[in-house]
Structures are given as structure tokens and as C-alpha cells.
Amino acid sequence: MAHLHDCWHCGAKDAASLFCRYCNTIQAPTPDYYEFFDLPRRLGLDSEDLKNRFYTLSRLLHPDRYTRRSEQEKRFSLEASSILNDAYRVLKDPIQRAEYVLRQEGFPVGDQRNKDVPPELLEEVFELNMALDELRGGDLEALPQLDAMRRRFVGMLGEIDRELEAMFARHDAAPEDARRQILAEIRAALNRRRYISNLVQEVDKQLAARNA
């Protein structure tokens, strides 16, 4: 898994990533989040283990540890720390983690153009827009209905999260060639999730504007 390259410092041929296995000098870091953490490409991750790895790597890579080293080492430390922090931010969040894997596998993710209403939500979205219009028009009777709809959407989010968790487990257990199919399902679930999450935000925004 770990990609091998020549050590810039001692010239060893199979230096391994992050640190040279022979002279222990910091190397040009890998930009791959999983490789960086030395983790298999799984969608289900143990968050406690990830946190410990993050702390351990922080101690080894942080620029504070390289103040009195060569310019090259300082550069690698800065580069590696930024990738470490970015990677930790993404991997510790299951949604961002899944999006990262999807993007790596060539699936378009978070595409702004993808504004089509998922067909199974058509009815709800229609209803919601009516209620929001009423509220904007100053009709406070729409408030209880909006509140109920908000609760329904939040419930849907919880449901999707449970589905996603199951899909993650299936993905991780599946053989390499069956994974793409599951990733496609995950992508569809994520799109639906993003859509609903935007709806909730929209309701919150309108309610906040109402209260202000």
C-alpha cells in the first residue's frame, strides 16, 4: 500500500512514505489520506483509533518540531502537517469520508448542478414550498406545518445515516470488483441526504428570519 520512493536525504531506494525507513528523515508526504494514516481503504473507521493515529502523527510531523532543521525538512513538515490536518478533518466525518472515497473512485460529488428533486421526495418538496410561500406571505398558520415537516426531514436524515452505515459495512466486506456498484448506491444516498439537509437549512433560515 505505502508508496515507495527514493529518500532525498540518504538515497535509499525504498524509503517508504513520511519517514525514510533507513535514515528516519522526513519525506515528501503522500497526498492520499488513507495512505497517510496507513489505513486500508474502508468506509467504516474506528474513530478512537483514527484520533490516536492523528495525535501520534502530529507529534512527529508538526512544524514546531522542525524549527532547527534544514529548509527542505521544514517544507516537508509544513506540507505533511497540512495534509494530516486536512485528512483528519475529512476522515473523522463519515459523510466527508465517503465523499472523499467517491471522488477518488471518479464519481462526481457535491455537484452544484445536481439540483433535481429526487423523485420520491417530489410530493414533500411541493408541500414544503407551499408552506414556505405562505410563511413569506405573512401567514403564520403555516408555522406548525413547517415545524412538522422539519421534524419529518430530520427523521429522514437519521434514516439515511443508518442506511449509509449499513452500505459502508457492505462496501468494506465486498471484494474489490463489487465495490463500485455499492459506491454508486452510496452516492445516490449522499445526494438525497444533501438535498434533504439543504431543505432543513432552508426551513431554519426562514424561521430565523421570521423570528428576527
Binding site: H62, D64, T67, R68, S82, N85, R89
Partner: protein
């Protein structure tokens, strides 16, 4: 106080000092064998008031000595300059109503302050304070100091951080790290002894307010969220009291003193005294004597608290936001630490205790704790302390301007730094050679509501049809919280040149010019010091020879030897007032050589007498 692991093998390395460059006071600290210590001045004082005055001869007066000049020479003296660091003229319109800053013409991109008939940028003035701290440290530690860690408010934006780093460079200090003040304070408290836990640091200083929430884990200080207000602090309380006193005096004396710099400073110092007393007693008297007239007014703590309630309340919103961002409830905060002089106010303590539902720590002097923490961070950088590590965050989101003046966020606030984001840019017109990227900082959706940080000009793009160029731009916020931008042409793989045009602050060329100027000044200073030292040495040897001439030893010399000594004395006296220390030293050496026999005789006489002494016994 915590104990620190010291690696003795590194004692020989160059020392890095920690500096708290404050709005009201500045301090330097260093890591001693037992822990961080404040570096005192020659008079034993621990703080340098952040006041700078330009003397008539063009030299600067800094600190306590400059405080007097706030009243005697207000047009040549400036305080609270930190409020202007990294800011543009329109940002400080509000401040100008309350502070006697005299902004010079042509201050659009960088503010220039008039001191007497000269103008200086805020980093240049801050550099004078840093130089004073550097001098103190060199005198106290007996070694040259060239490297420092400087603290900044956690909520400082990129321009304010750059301005602070520029100040360090102008002062001849390599700023190895900018550390956020509340984070530094948590290091000084040695809170990691409890190993695990959530800590909130509430830092209300002279001009800025910060709140930081940290998780401690086996020596790692991980900031979860930070928030604040870079224009909220004790100064605001002073200004409130000042305005009331001015109004009161106007009605009592029938004279508006608000445009009289000397009177305003006199009254300001009196209300600050009253404010400070109210932290320890229930009532005080604002007592002002001004040119034979006297103003006295009793101020009870209750009324004082009513007057400042809204200022104290303004700190609570950022605290709640920081807790939300960290995903924490007040009950989950294990410890609260108070930092900054304004946290001595009982009302502030009550507000903090009520909000976090925990009794705040205030064992360490709130004025010193930040500098002490900076010294700990300095020891982390030097490798002397190896069991601690700070993981800080960027306080503000970073974004770029997109179509319609909308911000596209690239790095969100409270991201652990170093943090980065990569974007690919292209051209919109055939043969386009430049792409301009406007980078902003802030949480709002529209560019106009955010803070413009800089424009990055991708230059010399290979001409090609619109949309074909692919330039990858990497935005990286380093461990100082400062943005670095690099770009690469994805088609050729070559580095793409980027020109930075900061929206506020000094360009690299300006900073370099200031460093050069300061360096030339430093040479002048050094020369002067060497001349003075040579004269002191000359005084010593002349006095010694004069004394020797009165002794028997002088009479034991030959006629020629005595004439040679007299000639050498004369030679030295001739050059004594010259400005050439080499010349003075040369004559000192000659006199020294001429008096060698005299010295030997003196020694022999002394030995003989000593031997006689022993015989008697």
C-alpha cells in the same frame, strides 16, 4: 506550576525568547531550568508599557519613561498602537473618535501615524517596543537575542498577524512562531498535568477579547474552537469612564477639555486608577488635579458595573459561539482560565462563572501568563520541551471571490492549522495571460461583508484558447495562521508565478526597506555604544595611573619611564572625545604598555606589604 523536561544537551543552542506584545503592556519571558520566567528590566520592572514617544533628537522613548510624555508631549507619543496593526484607514474611523491617533495623509493601504513631524506605520512603532524588550533580554541574559515567539490575539486576521511579524523583523527578531494568546496562557498554566479534559480560556485584555476552547490529551493542546473580538477590551471601559468624566467636568468647569490632549491624558490616567481600585474595593474617588483646578467624584462599584455591563455582555456571544463550534455544552467544560488585566474586574469573573458554570482559575498573574506561555512555546521550538505540542486553529474562514461577489469558502474557521485547500483556475478569454484571485477572510456570504486579504495575480500564463489553461492553486495556512499561496500549471507541471498584492499592510519591499533602515540605525547605535565603552575604560585606566603616581612605586621608575607614562596619558586625553573607539582603545593599550613597569612595582610593593603582614602574625 508544572515541571518541564529539560534536555541539557541543547543548552548551548541559541536562546529563543517569548514575547507578549500587548495593547497596554508588553513583556518578555524565557525558559529557565525550573520553568518560564519573566525577564525584568534593569529597574526590576516586569512590564514595559506599550507607549512609544519620539524624542526631539529622533530617538525613541519606550515604556514607563514614555508614559510621562503622554501628558508632556502628546503630539509625539502614542499608546494602544496594537489596535491599528494590519488595519486600513476606514477600519479605524471609530477608534479615531476615542483615541488621540494622528493619522497622516496617504494612509489608504497602511496607516501612517504622525509623531512630531515624522510618520510611522504601526509595525514600526510596535518594533520599538520589541526592541526595548530585546534590549532588556540581552542585558538580563547576557547574550544576543535574535529569535522570538510573539503572541497575538487568537482572533487576529491574516493582515494583523503579518503586521506583527513585520514588527518583529523590523526590530531585528526572527519571529519563529506567532502563538495565539489564549493558547499560550493554557501552556503556562501547565493544565496538562491533569492529562485529559476540556479547558476554556477567557482572555480580556487591554484592546482585544479572545475565547478559546481546548482539549488536553497527553501533552497535546488541541484547540477545538476560538472566537473573539479584536476591538473589545479594557480600553473600551476606560473610554466609557473618560467620556463621562469629560462631560461632568465640562458642566462643572464650563470648559470642554475633550480636544485638549494633555487634559484628556490626565483624566484618562485618573479614571484608569479608579477602575483598578474598584476591583479591590466597593467605592473609589476619581480625583483629578489640572492646572490648579480639582475635580473629585465618588464612583461606587454598583454604578461602575451598570456603566460597563454592555461591554462585559459583548464577550458572552463569542463564548457561546465557540462552544457551539466545538460541539460542547457548558457542563462539559472542565476548567476555565482567566487571562488579561480586565479579568480582575469582579463583574467579569461573575459573568464567566455564570456562563461556564465553573469557578475560573486565576492563580497566575493575568498580566504575565501569556508571556510565560510564549516562553514555553519557545522552548518547544528549541526542542528543550518535548512533551508538549500545540495544535491551534484558524479563527476565520478563508474564501475566494466568485461570480457576483459571492464567497466560495475554501478553509473553514476552526480548522486545525496548518490547513490547506486546492483549487484549479482557468482563463475566460482567448490568450488571457493573467488570472486575478481575490482572497477574503470572514464568515459572511458576500465579498463585501468579508475582509479583503489580498489579490493574487497568476502571471505569464501560456496564451491558449479560453478555458484551456489549468492552474492549480494551493492555499496553505501555516502554523502562524498566515496564508501562503503557490500555483502550478497542470499542463506543463511548472511552478506558476504569483504576485501578492496585500489589501492592507506592508509589501515585502516596504518591510525590507524598514529592516535596512533599522539595521543602519543599529550600526549607529553599536558604534556609539563602543565609543562609550572605550571612554569608560579610558576613565578607569587614567584613574588607576593617577592613583599610582601618588605611591612609592612611581618614585622607583626612571626619569624616562615617568616621561613615557606622562606622554601616553596625554595622548589618550587628546583622543578621549573623538568618536573613534579604535583610536581610543589604541591609546589605552599604549598607556597600558607604558605603565607595565609601574604596575609591576605596585604589585611588588603590595606583595612586600602582605608578607610583612604575615610575619607580624
Amino acid at each position: 506550576m508544572s515541571t518541564f523536561q529539560i534536555d541539557f544537551s541543547s543548552v548551548q543552542r541559541r536562546r529563543i525568547i517569548g514575547i507578549d506584545l500587548g495593547t497596554t503592556n508588553s513583556l518578555a519571558a524565557f525558559m529557565d531550568l525550573t520553568g518560564p520566567e519573566i525577564i525584568p528590566g534593569p529597574d526590576g520592572s516586569r512590564m514595559v508599557p506599550s507607549i512609544v514617544s519620539l524624542a526631539a533628537d529622533g530617538s525613541f522613548v519606550v515604556g514607563e519613561a514614555a508614559r510621562r510624555l503622554l501628558i508632556d508631549a502628546p503630539e509625539r507619543t502614542v499608546y494602544s498602537v496594537k489596535r491599528l496593526m494590519g488595519r486600513g484607514r476606514e477600519d479605524v474611523a471609530e477608534e479615531l473618535k476615542l483615541f488621540p491617533f494622528r493619522i497622516a495623509e496617504g494612509s489608504e493601504q497602511v496607516i501612517r501615524l504622525a509623531l512630531g513631524d515624522r510618520t510611522f506605520t504601526p509595525p514600526e512603532i510596535s518594533a520599538q517596543i520589541l526592541k526595548e524588550l530585546k534590549r532588556r533580554a540581552e542585558q538580563y541574559l547576557g547574550e544576543e537575542i535574535t529569535q522570538a515567539v510573539i503572541t497575538v490575539p487568537a482572533y487576529f486576521n491574516d493582515a494583523q498577524r503579518q503586521a506583527t511579524r513585520d514588527a518583529g523583523r523590523i526590530a531585528g527578531l526572527e519571529v519563529l512562531r506567532l502563538v495565539n494568546e489564549p493558547t499560550a496562557a493554557s501552556l503556562a498554566y501547565g493544565l496538562d498535568k491533569r492529562k485529559e479534559g476540556i479547558v476554556a480560556v477567557y482572555d480580556l485584555g487591554g484592546g482585544t477579547f479572545d475565547i478559546s476552547i481546548l482539549r488536553l490529551h497527553e501533552g497535546i493542546f488541541e484547540v477545538l474552537a476560538t472566537n473573539g473580538d479584536t476591538h473589545l477590551g479594557g480600553d473600551d471601559i476606560d473610554n466609557r469612564l473618560l467620556a463621562i468624566a469629560l462631560e461632568d467636568i465640562a458642566s462643572e468647569w464650563g470648559e470642554d477639555l475633550s480636544h485638549n490632549g494633555e487634559a484628556v491624558q490626565t483624566i484618562r490616567q485618573a479614571v484608569i486608577r479608579a477602575k483598578e481600585e474598584l476591583s479591590f474595593q466597593p467605592a473609589t474617588v476619581i480625583d483629578i488635579e489640572y492646572h490648579g483646578r480639582r475635580y473629585q467624584r465618588e464612583l461606587k462599584r454598583e454604578l461602575f458595573e451598570n456603566l460597563i455591563r454592555d461591554i462585559v455582555d459583548r464577550t458572552l456571544g463569542p463564548c457561546r459561539q465557540a462552544m457551539r463550534d466545538a460541539g460542547l455544552e457548558p457542563e462539559q467544560i472542565d476548567e476555565v482560565v482567566l487571562v488579561g488585566g480586565s479579568t480582575r474586574i469582579p463583574m467579569v469573573r461573575r459573568a464567566v462563572e455564570a456562563l461556564f458554570k465553573a469557578k475560573p482559575h486565576a492563580e497566575l498573574n493575568p498580566d504575565e501568563v501569556v508571556a510565560l506561555g510564549a516562553a514555553v512555546q519557545a522552548a518547544i521550538l528549541s526542542g528543550d520541551v518535548q512533551d508538549k505540542l500545540l495544535l491551534d486553529v484558524t479563527p476565520l474562514s478563508l474564501g475566494i471571490e466568485t461570480m457576483g461577489g459571492v464567497v466560495s469558502k475554501l478553509i473553514h474557521r476552526n480548522s486545525t492549522i496548518p490547513a490547506s485547500a486546492t483549487e484549479v483556475f482557468t482563463t475566460s478569454v482567448d490568450g488571457q495571460r493573467n488570472v486575478l484571485i481575490h482572497v477574503v477572510q470572514g464568515e459572511r456570504e458576500l465579498v463585501k461583508d468579508c475582509r479583503s486579504l489580498a489579490r493574487f495575480d497568476l502571471k505569464d500564463i501560456e496564451p491558449m484558447p479560453a478555458g484551456m489553461a489549468r492552474i492549480e492553486v494551493r492555499f496553505l495556512i501555516d502554523a502562524n495562521g498566515i496564508l501562503n499561496v503557490t500555483a502550478r500549471d497542470l499542463r506543463s507541471g511548472k511552478e506558476q508565478s504569483v504576485e501578492v498584492k496585500p489589501s492592507y499592510g506592508l509589501t515585502e519591499e516596504q518591510v525590507e526597506a524598514m529592516i535596512r533602515e533599522s539595521y543602519e540605525k543599529a550600526e549607529e547605535d553599536l558604534r556609539e555604544r563602543q565609543v562609550r565603552e572605550a571612554r569608560v575604560e579610558a576613565d578607569n585606566i587614567l584613574a588607576a595611573v593617577e592613583k599610582a603616581r601618588m605611591s612609592d612605586a612611581w618614585l622607583e621608575l626612571t626619569e624616562e619611564e615617568r616621561a613615557a607614562v606622562d606622554a601616553a596619558i596625554n595622548e589618550l586625553q587628546v583622543v578621549y572625545h573623538s568618536n573613534d573607539h579604535h583610536l581610543i582603545r589604541d591609546r589605552i593599550e599604549k598607556l597600558d604598555a607604558a605603565t607595565r613597569r609601574l604596575a609591576e612595582n605596585l604589585m611588588n610593593t603590595a606583595v612586600r606589604q602582605a608578607l610583612k603582614g604575615t610575619k607580624i602574625e
